[in-house]
């Protein structure tokens, strides 16, 4: 599947929804909702032989009855009708298909596999790229199309992270976490049964042909031919960050083997080694995936493990310092010049070496950001954890930092912020600061350290 074909599929000028519906219990209803409420800029053609209008748009009784060109067809009709619809797509020279319909090779009944094989040969006949079957669809935030049955994905912030999943459910989990954590997304999709578009094709497209995507995340359950994906990743090494979350970690090595190698080789053990070999950063939880992707997208690279911890309160700073060492990072040792500068900015009533307790500067935002500047300029630091907890008396701190941040130059090192306040209090300020100038915000000091460790690992994997 060539890159150009996928680009057409993901950037359609017109979309037909085969199986568009006015009834809430049909997926075609929700796909229409996604397109209409997601402010899709192209033409929408609902296909329904019974209704006159769906979502206020005139319908066509069949795909073949549409006079205008159709770039993308979203198919949400029952499985037995799909082969004929696919032939229609081919004859109409549709450029790509999203096949939401399920009931193919994933079902126990052998008829499912037979039907999927038939789809495969029809797709080959017309050289037609298909996302799915058995997918919720895709969202291209960059281009502005939500071709999925989840309209709420149109609320995702635009950004540089592509979320590519084998499972629809994991895509929903990560998509909603992304909203909560203000992660910017370029594309989000489930590949479903991967009829002819799988991870290797997607990876090539996203690395070579999608300028807005800077970080690629993959959720993988199991692949028949993992080498295909791994070799593709290896050949693209060093161009964009690739993160993978692999499910199925339970050990099922062949215990009957009389060989150690056999009994020690759980499937997952091999995956772990193979991912690193291919230059892919492995994460082991959904939140680690979101944190890492978000921060990689917004921050400069961590070129080493030496971290400065600057905290508005001593406790969270100490927790961050512990986490730094636990994750294999090191606490930076400030140069004399940096230490003098920090000593000038802070009175000797708090800890001024790393981790720095900036408590005395609560009411002086400029001071706090000057400390940040001094730590950034120190050649002995590779990244910063920057912490401030809300307190009634320092309520103006976040606003002051947000304003001051605007006047600062773009950072050359990653700064991971932890700014925590009761819901509703610093929301706007946090939103304003997150992703600016190389600052990215995560919920806790532990997660800040973990994400910086991953930034450093990602930098090593790049080379």
């Amino acid at each position: 599947m060539t890159n150009a074909k996928l680009k057409d599929l993901f950037c359609p000028e017109s979309v037909a929804v085969v199986g568009a519906s006015n009834s809430f219990d049909k997926l075609g209803y929700h796909v229409m909702k996604s397109l209409v409420q997601g402010n899709y800029g192209g033409r929408i053609f609902p296909v329904n032989p019974k209704a006159q209008q769906v979502w206020g748009i005139n319908t066509h009784p069949a795909l073949s009855e549409i006079r205008e060109a159709v770039d993308l067809a979203v198919i949400a009709v029952p499985a037995p009708f799909v082969p004929e619809v696919l032939h229609e797509c081919g004859r109409k020279r549709v450029k790509g298909v999203v096949m939401i319909t399920a009931g193919f090779k994933e079902i126990e009944d052998a008829k499912g596999q037979a039907l999927e094989n038939e789809l495969g040969s029809i797709a080959r006949q017309y050289d037609l790229p298909i996302i799915g079957p058995n997918t919720f669809g895709f969202v291209n935030r960059t281009f502005g199309v939500n071709a999925s049955f989840t309209p709420e994905f149109s609320l995702l912030e635009k950004g540089g992270v592509a979320l590519i999943s084998q499972s629809g459910g994991m895509c929903h989990l990560c998509g909603f976490l992304a909203m909560e954590q203000r992660m910017g997304v370029s594309k989000l999709m489930s590949l479903g049964n991967r009829l002819n578009v799988g991870f290797p094709e997607l990876l090539k497209h996203l690395v070579e042909d999608d300028e807005q995507t800077r970080v690629i995340t993959l959720y993988i359950e199991g692949l028949d031919d993992p080498r295909d994906l791994l070799d593709t990743a290896k050949s693209l090494r060093g161009r964009k960050h690739i993160i993978a979350y692999k499910a199925g970690k339970s050990e099922k090595g062949d215990s009957a083997s009389r060989f150690h190698t056999g009994s020690l080789a759980g499937d997952y053990q091999i995956w772990k080694g193979a991912l690193r070999q291919a230059g892919i950063l492995e994460v082991t939880s959904a939140e680690e995936l979101i944190d890492t992707a978000k921060v990689l997208d917004k921050c400069p690279p961590a070129k080493g493990p030496r971290i400065a911890v600057l905290s508005g309160q001593a406790g969270p700073g100490m927790i961050a310092a512990d986490a730094v060492e636990k994750t294999g990072l090191k606490l930076a040792r400030f140069s004399e010049k940096t230490q003098e500068e920090i000593n000038r900015l802070l009175p000797p009533i708090a800890i001024r070496t790393n981790p720095v307790d900036m408590g005395p500067s609560w009411y002086d935002t400029k001071n706090i950001l000057d400390i940040l500047k001094a730590a950034l300029e120190d050649e002995g630091t590779d990244g910063i954890i920057f912490i401030a907890m809300f307190a009634s008396a320092n309520v103006h701190l976040a606003k002051g930092m947000a304003d001051y941040l605007n006047s600062m130059d773009h950072f050359k090192k990653p700064v991971v912020g932890v700014f925590t306040a009761p819901p509703g209090i610093w929301d706007n300020e946090i939103r304003a600061m997150d992703g600016q100038k190389g600052l990215s915000i995560v919920p806790t000091p532990e997660r800040a350290a973990a994400v910086l460790a991953n930034l450093w690992k990602a930098n090593l994997l790049f080379g």
Partner: protein, 215 residues
Amino acid sequence: MDRLLLGVDAIAFLDKEGIRVLESSLARDENEAASMASRIGFPVALKISSPDVIHKTETGGIRVLLKSEQEVRQAFREVTTVFRSDSPEKKLEGVMVQKLGRGFELIVGARKDRQFGHVLMFGLGGIYAEAAKDVSFRLIPVTKRDAREMIEELQCYGMLKNPRSGTVDLPGIEDFLLQVSALIEKHEEIQEMDLNPVFASSSDIEVCDARIRIG
């Protein structure tokens, strides 16, 4: 049909393929054992050689640190007597006389995985291999960088690089892993191979025992 290479046969195969092995010969009687030991140089180890025995330590079929011909003769008589009385049904080929290995005991393995094809394994070897499960994997072929990372990923890496616990030739291990990877590429018919233990010291990396399944 699968074929299993064990002990002396496996060692001879590896030797022929240019993999460093501990010098070994198969002795049929105690005279042969004594003269082989003299030729190899003391101390030596003796090991029961039988196609029916996989884990030799468990059957009491190993004697190590034998320092003279006399000790070799006595050890030969002991291991063969015990073997014949404990396992009369098992075939005795002879006793392997082997130079004594020194250094860390490591395991290097390879197997053909249903999904991934040939994979290489590296880890802590010897009798602790199964219990410690301190291993790393890569797909074959491996690069120098992969080999280095396989070593660094082990929990016992700190021990391997610590000069106070006896230095190990780490670049030598990297080369060794590359060599095994190349061997498997050349012999695709190998289904499974365990080199365990492999002795690694500051100067040598030598295979002490091996099992190879060819299919």
